[in-house]
């Protein structure tokens, strides 16, 4: 834990939230994509967050003697997974991606849920920016002690 520990932790969260908002934006953009490279309609993507440097036995042992116990850890995007929900079938026989029965598979994306996700990502980003500013103020005030 150094002088800028809070900033590094919050910075990792900022990066993670940015990726989450990117993925949500991709979901919104591809809400009507019926064709993808891997075949079939677009699948809704979801991010999986994980705590950075999952505590190994050595880390725990090394931290046991210190007064802090465990070190503060940032967050990383561990994975971006596809939603396994079945696609929505719409009857559009003239569509080039229609199957023999005339049905087109559309992505199972709910715009309301995606917008909520986006808002949540933006709010989390704001929260972490606030944490960075707070840490900055704390350091500046500590420097003021010298004056």
């Amino acid at each position: 834990m150094n002088l800028f520990g809070v900033m590094q932790v919050s910075g990792s969260a900022l990066g993670a939230e940015r990726i989450r908002s990117e993925v949500t934006a991709a979901n919104l953009a591809n809400a009507e994509s019926t064709h993808t490279e891997e075949g079939g309609p677009y699948r809704r993507k979801q991010v999986v967050f994980a705590s950075q440097n999952a505590p190994s036995f050595q880390n725990t042992l090394a931290g046991a003697g210190e007064s802090h116990g465990s070190q503060p850890r940032g967050v990383v995007v561990r994975d971006v997974v596809s939603d396994p929900a079945p696609p929505i079938m719409r009857y559009e026989p003239s569509h080039p991606d229609a199957n023999e029965a005339g049905y087109v598979a559309y992505p199972n994306i709910n715009p309301v849920a995606e917008m909520t996700d986006l808002l949540s990502a933006v709010r989390s980003y704001q929260m972490n920016v606030a944490a960075v500013s707070a840490s900055k103020q704390m350091i500046a005030q500590s420097i003021d002690i010298l004056r």
């Binding site: 900022l14 500046a140 420097i143 010298l146």
Partner: protein, 103 residues
């Protein structure tokens, strides 16, 4: 004699004290130790400024640099510089105090 042989810590205590005294006198005599510390701190501040500059350059040239990491690097550099300036002011104050000493 017996006590110090039973408690090895006791025997080493005076040695440790002498060691500490020697290191402080050496630090006071040779001016390189304080200078070295100062230079090390300056180098670190310079490194922070350099990394902040790299990140801002990467951001402005569109190299895919994250906005937040560039901003955080700039803030870190600014705070390090501020701390360095305050330490420098303190050192200069101490110097002027001493130069005003009269006998």
């Amino acid at each position: 004699m017996q006590i110090s042989s039973q408690l090895p810590g006791l025997g080493t205590l005076p040695n440790a004290a002498a060691e500490a005294a020697r290191s402080t006198t050496a630090g006071g005599r040779g001016e390189d130790s304080f200078l070295k510390t100062l230079h090390g701190a300056l180098d670190q501040v310079d490194q922070m400024q350099g990394s902040a500059q790299d990140k801002v350059n990467g951001l402005l040239s569109g190299n895919g640099q994250d906005v937040h990491s560039a901003m955080i690097a700039v803030q870190q550099a600014s705070l390090s510089f501020e701390l360095m300036m305050q330490v420098r002011n303190k050192v200069v104050n101490a110097y002027t105090e001493i130069s005003r000493l009269q006998f």
